[in-house]
Amino acid sequence: MTRRRILLLLLPLVLLPVLAAAAPAGDTPPASPGLLAPPDRLAYPPLDFPVPRAERFELPNGIVVYFLEDREVPLVTVQAYLKGGSLLDPDGKEGLAELLATVMRTGGTHSRTGREVDERLEFLAADAEASAGLETISASLSVLKKDLEEGLALFSGMLREPAFEEERLVLARELKKEDLRRIADDPARFAFREFGRFQYRQGPWARLSSLASLDAVLRQDLVSHHRRLFTPRNLWIAVSGDLSREEAREALQRHFGSWTAADIPGTEAPQPVPGRRGIRLVSREISQSVLIVGHPAPSRSAPDYHAFQVLDFLLGGGGFSSRIFQEIRTDRGLAYSTGSFYRSRLKHGVFGAYAITRTDATLSVLAHLERILAESGRGAFKDQDLQAARESMLHRFIFSFQSPEQVVRQRLLVEFDRLPADFLESYRKNIRKVTTGDIEAAALRWLDASRASILVLGDPRGFGGRLDSFGEMMNAP
């Protein structure tokens, strides 16, 4: 029963970004359907789903802990979250947070070398990883219950007193550099990475690591950045699995309780300012183009967050029945991968519509994408569309809470992201409240063509027309 990791073994029907979401609903009484009854007339027993809770406690030093017991398998999972990610990388040292996370995991602790840590974890068949996003650094540990003590000792050693061995920093840096050199070999990955920079135009959000910026990150940078961010009051921990609340509290107190360090670090970064409409072309001589039409979008605490969620679902986040997929893929056969994504951050959001299409269809697909976005502010979605999207999102809500790890994580993130305490409880109510008027208002407000960031990767000689007829071309920095 080996885990096959190569993607090409199977070809799925559709490659879509995975979305979390949705919940239950009461229904009509069961009938007895004949074999060919229209599936819409099937009746289902009601399903009541109270959002699962997790227990919350604090360690005396300020670490916030969310906990859920689950005895099914003899495993314990620990997830740690800290504020501060690559947004805080100093100019010229882009990639610092990412290297910090990697070398924290691989570079040893005060009492063990990196190699010893690797060997102990392997010995215990435990998994530990760490990674950095734009606003967050996270780490996780999965360990057999019987090895919890030693697993936690290693894990807390990494978080509290990483040694950042020079040799492991060099390795992490060289691997990251090779990864950068290879990004251009994967057109979709390359395009989405460049889009990540282009949509913000400038400022801390618009930066990406480069070979030079990675070379500029020194061990001392990791040490001081770690000292700044890693304090008990900037740490949230989710624990779930085969242990009791008291066992969890005592174990965490043993391994993290003696940690006293300075105050909460300042981790706020200035928010991005939406730019005006622009197009960036990344020239590549290939037979397909990657197109992304980006727009600013609401933050997770914005009043129109739920309306925008529904809008994204209707446009391209909701699978086959969503408008972009239907029009670009099903009706016209112009793409295999197409749809939209909505990423809501703490204080702003990003929306993008995308398609990967043959070179000579590039301009017509771009026109279709922009038309579909524009129509969403002009009554494109009727009551029945809204109804279907709402149903879908409400019914699938339960899948955000399938495992104990998911439950504690969801609960923890509400507090971590400073969302209203009833964010999860009121999610379904808020989705139900969304009207077609709300969707149109959200579309008009956010999907304003004069603020679109359009990224096209492809071979312009084969477009059969002028890309600059769509707007001003903007060069890469």
């Binding site: 029963m1 070809l11 090779e178 909701g318 699938r396 495992s403």
Partner: protein, 495 residues
């Protein structure tokens, strides 16, 4: 050193006991029943979340495509999302009639296009116009993407299907109270699908091919590599189909594939989640029980002759270099296949694996180096594959040499007891971790029931692994991992 080994053996013994207990428990909890028409059903109750994960596996895939019609299994998988006779039609008579005319026009167009350079451009233009016109009239007679809509409004997640060389799979997770919808849709599309939007979807598959093969160095290398490693066996052909076959796939080929391969006696279903097994079984009986069994097909699959010399190919592509090496080996449940699972883990699972230690860390030659056993499928004798990417400034040749050295080490030196135990420990823990997800369990149980003929391959796997000795590893390496049995494929820029 001795103490360490003793400690490791103690840890290992505990974990082996723990894993064995879980394996035993799983054997008690999984219910396996076979309907009179041959449909195999696996049921497992996991009450944690009010959801259920559903897998339908057909024991057929790309290997069963006819030559000249490669890509049939995969295209059929796409077309099974286009509705059925009773799912989708708004005007059933118009739907059926226009579809007939569309297939006739599409057939005429394909025949003209097949003439290649002798094709008449005027006639192609006319026929394309006729086809487009029929298609747009057809659109008013049915609801597009109805299967997806039904699933989606009922809260489905993970709705997808996939085609492999050996198995085709349709899977979805639903709120527990919506099981009947799944039974209604899956039993219907198993026998009565309607191929609406046929020609537009064929274009989608061509876009898929552009995306996965033509513009993707990994995909291109993999396709060329398999075509070199296998000379006769259908594993040499891409799942998507050859570029020259896809544009001519026709509805008749798909229909005949469906009839032959989507028979209940060729099908495995797994249901895992908060269920009442008896109720679920009755539901499946009600919806699937009436589907008639088909005579099992003789499968005249050509056997791959033994390889006697190294094969070597070069793929020119504008990308950083990549390396793929494969050795022929037997399929499960051959004992040596289990040994290869151990070798795979030994070489490339985790940060203390040999490839990571030697090629990535110590020598600094590789960005990635991974071993994979069972490529490109599991039903027939397959390959043990090493895939690697060199790290600048090292040439791909240096990485290749280092890989061969590691393989040689497997042949020349017995693995130490502690290294072998470490690997087994990881496999035991992974077994336990894999028990914690509905989706994962449904996937694994149904896969091995379909491929190994018995899902208990999963629980028996560890017992066999426990028996593997350093001598087995060395013998297997000496038998299969030899130069005359390997194919080397290198992708790099045109010099």
């Amino acid at each position: 050193m001795r103490n360490r080994l003793l400690f490791l053996l103690l840890v290992a013994a505990l974990l082996a006991w723990e894993a064995a207990a879980h394996a035993q428990d799983l054997e008690k909890r999984v219910i396996r029943r076979v309907l009179p028409n041959g449909l195999t059903v696996l049921l497992l109750e996991r009450p944690l979340s009010p959801t259920v994960s559903l897998y339908v596996r057909y024991k057929s895939g790309a290997v069963d495509d006819e030559d000249g019609k490669t890509g049939t299994a995969h295209f059929l998988e796409h077309m099974l999302f286009k509705g059925t006779e009773s799912i989708g039609p708004l005007d059933p008579a118009g739907d059926a009639e226009l579809l007939e005319r569309i297939f006739r026009a599409g057939g005429d167009l394909d025949r003209e296009r097949a003439r290649g350079e002798r094709a008449d451009p005027e006639r192609i233009k006319t026929l394309t116009g006729v086809l487009r016109d029929l298609e747009s009239r057809h659109r008013a007679t049915y609801r597009s993407n109805e299967i997806d809509r039904l699933y989606t409004i009922n809260g489905a997640v993970g709705l997808n299907a996939s085609t492999g060389q050996d198995v085709t799979t349709y899977h979805v997770s639903l709120p527990m109270n919506r099981l009947e919808l799944w039974a209604r849709i899956e039993s219907d599309r198993m026998v009565r699908p309607v191929f609406r939007e046929f020609y537009a979807e064929r274009d989608v598959v061509l876009e898929e091919r552009r995306q996965r093969v033509e513009t993707d160095p990994d995909g291109l290398l993999y396709e060329r590599f398999l075509a070199a490693a296998f000379t006769v066996h259908p594993y040499r052909r891409p799942i998507l189909g050859w570029a020259s076959d896809i544009p001519f796939l026709d509805p008749a080929a798909l229909r005949s594939f469906l009839r032959q391969h989507h028979a209940p006696n060729n099908t495995v279903i797994a249901v895992v989640g908060r269920i009442r097994p008896d109720d679920v079984f009755r539901l499946i009986e009600r919806y699937f029980g009436g589907i008639p069994r088909q005579e099992p097909l003789p499968r005249p699959i050509a056997e791959e002759p033994p390889q006697t010399d190294e094969r070597r190919i070069r793929v020119a592509f504008d990308a950083r270099p990549q390396l793929m090496i494969g050795w022929h080996k037997p399929a499960l449940p051959h004992f040596d296949d289990y040994v290869f699972d151990v070798i795979e883990a030994l070489l490339s699972r985790g940060r203390t694996s040999r490839f990571y230690r030697e090629l990535v860390e110590k020598k600094g030659l590789a960005e990635k180096a991974a071993a994979m056993s069972g490529i490109p499928g599991s039903r027939y004798p397959n390959l043990f594959v090493v895939y690697g990417t060199p790290r600048d400034p090292h040439p791909v040749a240096a990485l290749e040499k280092a890989v061969h050295e590691e393989i040689e080490r497997l042949r020349n030196e017995p693995v130490t007891a502690s290294e072998l135990e470490k690997i087994k420990n990881r496999m035991r823990a992974e077994f336990i971790r894999d028990l914690a997800s509905n989706e994962g369990l449904a996937r694994t149980l149904s896969y091995y029931e379909a491929v190994a003929g018995d899902w208990r391959y999963v629980t028996g796997h560890l017992q066999v692994i426990e028996r593997i000795t350093p001598g087995d590893v060395q013998r297997v390496a000496r038998t299969y991992l030899v130069p005359e049995n390997r194919t080397v494929a290198i992708l790099e820029k045109q010099p």
